[in-house]
Amino acid sequence: MSIRQILDIASTGMAAQRLRVQLIAANIANSETTRTKEGGPYRRKDAVFASQDLGFAGALANAGVRVAGIKTSQEPFLTRYEPGHPDADPDGVVSYPNVNSVEEMVNLTEASRAYEANIAVVRAAKAMATSALDILRVQ
């Protein structure tokens, strides 16, 4: 049934965008983190999306979306001269994470708009299912 397909597709979209928001939250929370388990400052993370086959026939074969991987940014760290900082190098320069908070905010807005778009799809599918059930109400 198509309504179920619609809900399946929208739910993959919501899951993918939610994970993206989680990564943005991690980036913003760690925007000043200079120590990580891997050593060195925190590196910015971003989700890579790919279309997903949900087993639907025909043109809807690759209708869903999935997170193909989480990319760790290899951009250079931001540096600041802070000789008093415990993680400063011998020259007094501290490497801070390569997180640009403006960029994160823009991505956050984009992800939440995309999430809302999927919610709108779910709402539409629900209204359609209700109106289909109303056909039975002939009295």
Binding site: S2, I3, Q5, I6, I9, A10, T12, G13, A16, Q17, R20, V48, F49, A50, S51, F56, A59, L60, A63, G64, V65, E110, A111, R113, A114, A117, N118, A120, V121, A124, A125, A127, M128, S131, A132, D134, I135, R137, V138, Q139
Partner: protein, 139 residues
């Protein structure tokens, strides 16, 4: 035995309309889920074209019979694009994705409206049959 519902052209046409509207909604759900998938191309089909094709397989109820010179013929102008090719390549982004959020949102509510209109028409038709049966059995 004469089948009272599948012999009804209005109900048949609305049946096709409901099926196609929910199919199209699945395509829109797929486009919105893949809003940020690199390389994804908008998927769509022409609702009017597909409906015409589906109904022409049966006896067409869309050809209105004019019994008076002032009678109007239904409009045949197509307001929806047959495919999304018209949008290319202007709408394509740097990542090769050409999903247009505004277009998909508009189509989402439009398709929902088409679905609800079809289900209401079908309900009205079935209600007529129900009243007919009730009146006949009351005598």
């Amino acid at each position: 035995m004469f089948d009272i519902t599948s012999g009804n052209r209005m109900i048949q046409a609305m049946d096709q309309s409901l099926t196609l509207a929910s199919k199209r909604q699945a395509f829109i759900a797929s486009n919105l889920a893949n809003l940020d998938t690199p390389g994804y191309r908008t998927k769509d089909f022409s609702f009017e074209g597909a409906l015409k094709l589906a109904i022409d397989g049966q006896k067409s109820p869309t050809n209105l019979t004019a019994t008076h010179r002032m009678h109007l013929q239904g409009s045949t102008s197509s307001s929806l694009p047959a495919s999304t090719d018209a949008l290319k390549p202007n709408a394509e982004r740097n990542d090769g994705n050409d999903v247009n959020l505004d277009r998909e949102n508009m189509l989402l509510s439009r398709t929902q409206g088409a679905y609800q209109a079809a289900s209401t028409f079908m309900q009205v038709e079935l209600r007529k049959l129900y009243l007919l049966i009730r009146e006949a059995s009351a005598r």
